[in-house]
């Protein structure tokens, strides 16, 4: 509450919100103007996110108190290494996906850019908030926008899949509120830093209530992060959504993973009384099941969309397995893998759209279509994306996988983790290789009608956006050293939450001083 307030902290939330309203109110009749404004704003958000991340590069934790209310009472945003990194990731992804969508997808329905800006606002808000209830509110902002984006383009198939998606998320929101209610009833606070102080002090009689609330909260995050057996919604919804929307949704599963990391390391960290390590016993086994099921799903898919969706489930399983360790190495691997998984998954969803466009009526079904073979650049991009996704050297998927294997080496489930992860990798490589050879190397019978010629406008921009997304995976592997060091420092900060708590609550954080009167 002293010193100048850094207003840039909240800019990644405010700017998209204002731009979205501006797009609806002033620019709804001009798609070109919408594209220009939307892209400019997203580029500005990327720059702000870079600047914010540089601000906290030394490990500082910067709270932003709205209305200057002191911490446990007011609404608070917290910028630290993890939230700064995630905001940067979301902004870069948003900029590239918006560039892709600007080449044509935004014409197939109304208000694409406004919905997209609201989605970015919700995602950045969820990363920056320091309060469990505001996390709920930003989840809802993000989800409401995602419902619109999910249905973008229309059609009965999207409506049916959209109904599933909205229904499962409404159930998730209800669970979230039950959890918030229970946690508030026991601790009297919803501020995450304050929870870190109050949870260990909860009465012994209330421990069961608090555990129920905590587990429900983790469950909601796991629905978002598609942990088996809560993953069923993901393949249906993402395969039906328009590919640019699905590419943006890649960050939403990571919001679930982020929330899991954030809340668990603060409120249920090791040494926080009877509830320490609340989610640890079951996340790891469930994540192993997720990996296995996702790999089998890639092999069973009859379309590229299904394959990419199950590969997403598979990669979320690998991510959640490292999170489930809740130690230095595990979280380091998780943060690196989160960056990699989001960008590569999004690139594959966009590639899927390019394939559909070129194959016309054949769409992305995994069977040979006439006259599609020898798609030079498209095949090259698919090859790079597949290598990175499957975790073959030299791209970032390989670095991520090495980090994961290294982190699980001494874990209690090490033998299971290694064998399932390595076996599933072979399965995914096989599924991707089969899909690639069917799509790009074989040609169907000659008497079938030829592939419809797709509209070619803006195809350069589409290729550039996909190439840029794949470029980030090259970047992540070329600069794996600095990125891993950054991830390591972030993980270390997560495991010593005192700095975070002190920065948010001020100096009066000793447990004795804060026991309820």
């Amino acid at each position: 509450m002293s010193g100048p307030v850094d207003h840039w902290i909240i800019a990644p939330v405010l700017l998209p919100a204002m731009v979205a309203a501006f797009l609806i109110l002033a620019l709804r009749h001009s798609l070109v103007a919408q594209r220009v404004v939307s892209m400019t704003a997203l580029a500005a958000v990327v720059l702000i996110a870079l600047r914010n991340l540089a601000e906290v590069g030394d490990g500082a934790v910067l709270p932003y108190r709205l209305g200057d209310w002191p911490a446990p009472f007011g609404i608070i945003m917290v910028l630290d290494r993890l939230s700064g990194t995630m905001v940067l990731l979301a902004s870069v992804l948003a900029l590239l996906v918006a560039a892709y969508a600007s080449s044509g997808w935004d014409m197939r329905g109304r208000h694409f850019h406004a919905l997209f800006q609201f989605q970015v606002m919700g995602i950045n808000g969820a990363f920056l908030t320091g309060d469990v209830f505001n996390l709920f509110v930003f989840f809802e902002v993000m989800l409401i926008a995602s419902y619109g984006l999910m249905l973008h383009g229309g059609g009965p198939h999207r409506l049916v899949a959209g109904f599933h998606y909205v229904a499962i998320n409404l159930v998730g929101s209800t669970l979230f509120l039950f959890a918030v209610g229970l946690i508030y009833a026991v601790t009297g606070t919803l501020n995450m830093a304050d929870l870190a102080v109050k949870v260990p002090l909860a009465d012994a009689g209330d421990t069961a209530l608090l555990a129920a609330g905590g587990v429900m909260l983790m469950l909601v995050f796991c629905i978002k992060a598609a942990l088996v057996p809560l993953h069923w919604w993901l393949p249906t919804a993402y395969a039906a959504a328009s590919p640019p929307a699905a590419a943006m949704f890649m960050i939403m599963t990571k919001v679930g993973a982020y929330a899991l990391i954030r809340v668990h390391t603060l409120a249920f960290a090791a040494g926080s009384g009877p509830l320490a390590g609340l989610a640890e016993p079951w996340i790891l086994p469930a994540a192993l099941a997720t990996i296995a099921l996702g790999a089998v799903g890639t092999l069973a898919s009859r379309s590229l969309a299904g394959l990419v969706c199950y590969a997403t489930v598979w990669s979320m399983g690998s991510l959640l397995m490292t999170i489930g360790l809740f130690d230095q190495q595990g979280l380091t691997a998780a943060i690196y893998y989160m960056l990699h998984g989001t960008l590569v998954g999004a690139a594959l969803f966009l590639l899927l759209d390019l394939v559909r466009e070129k194959r016309g009526l054949w769409q992305d079904g995994l069977k040979p279509s006439p006259g599609f073979a020898r798609q030079g650049w498209l095949a090259v991009l698919f090859f790079v994306g597949a290598i990175s996704l499957a975790g073959l050297p030299p791209l970032s998927g390989f670095v991520g996988k090495v980090l994961i294997l290294d982190a699980t080496r001494s874990a209690p489930w090490a033998a299971w983790a290694w064998s399932i992860l390595l076996a599933s990798s072979i399965v995914v490589i096989f599924a991707l290789a089969r899909a690639g050879s069917v799509l790009f190397w074989t040609s169907g019978s000659d008497d079938a009608p030829p592939v419809r010629v797709a509209p070619e406008s803006g195809v350069g921009l589409r290729f550039a956006a996909v190439a840029a997304l794949l470029g980030t995976t090259v970047f992540l592997s070329a600069f794996a050293g600095p990125v891993t060091r950054h991830a390591g420092a972030t993980a270390a900060a997560l495991l010593t939450p005192d700095v975070y708590v002190e920065a948010v609550l001020g100096q009066r954080t000793t447990a004795a001083a804060r026991v309820a009167p």
Binding site: F133, V137, E140, I144, Y147, L151, G153, G155, P156, H157, L159, V160, A161, G162, F163, H164, V166, A167, L170, V171, S173, T174, L177, F178, V180, G181, L182, Y184, A185, P235, T236, A239, A240, S301, R302, S303, L304, A305, G306, C309, R356, W362, Q363, D364, G365, L366
Partner: protein
Amino acid sequence: MELLLASGIGAITAVGLYLILRRESFPVILGLTFLSYAVNLFLFAMGRLVVNQPPIAAPGAPGYTDPLPQALVLTAIVISFGMTALIVVLALRGFLETGSDEVRDETQGQSGEAER
């Protein structure tokens, strides 16, 4: 009063859970509505049940009721109301376009071949 409220919330939740597992989308929406009512009451009760007290620590008042859950419930009501409206429209459009109110399990092959 505690017993009445607790069992009421429990009953509404049970009805909601039963309904969201139905096959048609109309009962599912009703179930979601019941669940959101239940959670609103639940949140409200989480500030402890207090009768006839101001929601602010005023001097002279014999006590106060926790205003925070009321603010939370207000936010939750607004969000769940908007969401219910959205899902009703969605179910209606789905019914008009597909001619069936059933919550179907789409096979993923369709997304690859038939339509976009």
